[in-house]
C-alpha cells in the first residue's frame, strides 16, 4: 500500500460514515407536529380563560400532551421499522427526547397538581426544558442552529419573567416559531436533500 491508496481508503471510510449519517437523519416531522400542536393547545388554553373555565386548563394541556405523545410514539416506531439502518447518534437523541418528555410531564402536569409552585412558573420551566432538549440534540448531531434555538428558549424563559403571569404562555408562540418550526423546516429540507443524494 502507498500513500495514495491509504488516502483513498480514508476517503471511503469518511464517505460511508457520512452517507449513513444522512440516511438516518431526522426528518423534522415531529418538530413541525409539536410546534403546531402546542400552538393549538395555547389557543385552547386562552379560549378556556376567555370562557372563565379555569379548572379545565390542566385537562386541556393533559389531553394535548398525552395525544401528542401517543402520536410521537407511533410515528417513531413506524420510522424505526422503515429505516434500514440505525445509528448510535439517533439512539442517543431518542433517549434524550424521552428523558425530556418525562421532564415536561412532571414539571408541567404532575408537580402543579401537588401545588409545588404556582401556575405562572410552568411556562418558564417548560421553556428551560425545551432549551435543554434542543441544546442536547444540537450537540449530538453537531448542529449549531439547534444550539442557537436553545439559547432563544432560555432567553425566552428569562423574558417571561418580565411578562404578566396571564400572558406568559403567549410568549411560547414566537419561541415555537423560532425554536421549533424553523429548525423543523431546515431539518426537513436537509432530510429531503439527503434522500435524493442517497438515491442517486
Amino acid at each position: 500500500m502507498n500513500e495514495l491508496e491509504a488516502k483513498e481508503e480514508i476517503r471511503l471510510i469518511q464517505e460511508m460514515i457520512q452517507k449513513t449519517r444522512q440516511a438516518t437523519a431526522e426528518s423534522g416531522t415531529l418538530f413541525f407536529f409539536w410546534g403546531i400542536w402546542v400552538v393549538l393547545a395555547i389557543i385552547g388554553n386562552y379560549v378556556l380563560v376567555f370562557l372563565e373555565k379555569y379548572s379545565w386548563i390542566w385537562l386541556n394541556w393533559t389531553v394535548f400532551v398525552v395525544l401528542g405523545m401517543i402520536y410521537s410514539g407511533f410515528y417513531s416506531i413506524r420510522q424505526e421499522k422503515r429505516q434500514e439502518a440505525a445509528t448510535y447518534v439517533q439512539m442517543a437523541s431518542r433517549y434524550l427526547v424521552i428523558a425530556c418528555a418525562v421532564g415536561y410531564v412532571l414539571l408541567g402536569l404532575v408537580f402543579p397538581l401537588f401545588n409545588l409552585y404556582s401556575y405562572g412558573v410552568i411556562p418558564v420551566l417548560i421553556a428551560v426544558m425545551a432549551g435543554i432538549e434542543l441544546f442536547g440534540i444540537g450537540g449530538i448531531y453537531e448542529w449549531n442552529l439547534l444550539k442557537w434555538c436553545a439559547a432563544v428558549w432560555w432567553l425566552g424563559s428569562l423574558g417571561m419573567l418580565l411578562v404578566h403571569v396571564y400572558y406568559r404562555t403567549l410568549v411560547f408562540v414566537p419561541l415555537i416559531i423560532l425554536g421549533y418550526l424553523l429548525p423543523g423546516w431546515v431539518l426537513r429540507s436537509k432530510y429531503h436533500r439527503g434522500i435524493k443524494g442517497h438515491a442517486s
Binding site: 500513500e3 481508503e9 460514515i17 452517507k19 449513513t20 440516511a23 434500514e84 439502518a85 448510535y88
Partner: protein, 101 residues
C-alpha cells in the same frame, strides 16, 4: 498510541467492500442488507461473499429474520470487529504523513 509506520494491514478488512461495510457498521448500531448494498453500490452476490468473510472472522454478526413476509438480513459490528477496525485505522495512519499546520 502512535501509529506504527507501515504496519501490516488486516487482510480481512483490506478490501473496498469489506472496509465500506465496517465503516458503515462502526457508526450504525445495525444495518440491513439492502441498505449496505445501496450505500456501497454493489451486487447481492458480491456483498454476500464479503459479509460471509467478515462473519467468519468474527468481525460482524449477521441476523436473519423476516420483515412481514420478506426475509431480512441485519448486520452489526462485534467487539472483535470494532477492535480490528481501530487497529486498521491506526495502521492506515502510518501510510499517510501527518500534515503540520
Amino acid at each position: 498510541m502512535p501509529p506504527e509506520k507501515f504496519a501490516p494491514l488486516d487482510p480481512v478488512i483490506h478490501s473496498q467492500v469489506r472496509l465500506a461495510v465496517l465503516s458503515i457498521l462502526v457508526s450504525a448500531k445495525k444495518a440491513e442488507f439492502s441498505y449496505l448494498r445501496k450505500a456501497i453500490g454493489t451486487t447481492d452476490g458480491n456483498l454476500s461473499t464479503h459479509l460471509s468473510k467478515l462473519e467468519e472472522a468474527g468481525y460482524i454478526s449477521v441476523k436473519k429474520s423476516f420483515k412481514g413476509k420478506k426475509p431480512l438480513t441485519t448486520c452489526s459490528l462485534t467487539e472483535k470487529g470494532r477492535d480490528a477496525f481501530s487497529r486498521y485505522l491506526r495502521a492506515l495512519e502510518g501510510y499517510v504523513p501527518i500534515e503540520k499546520s
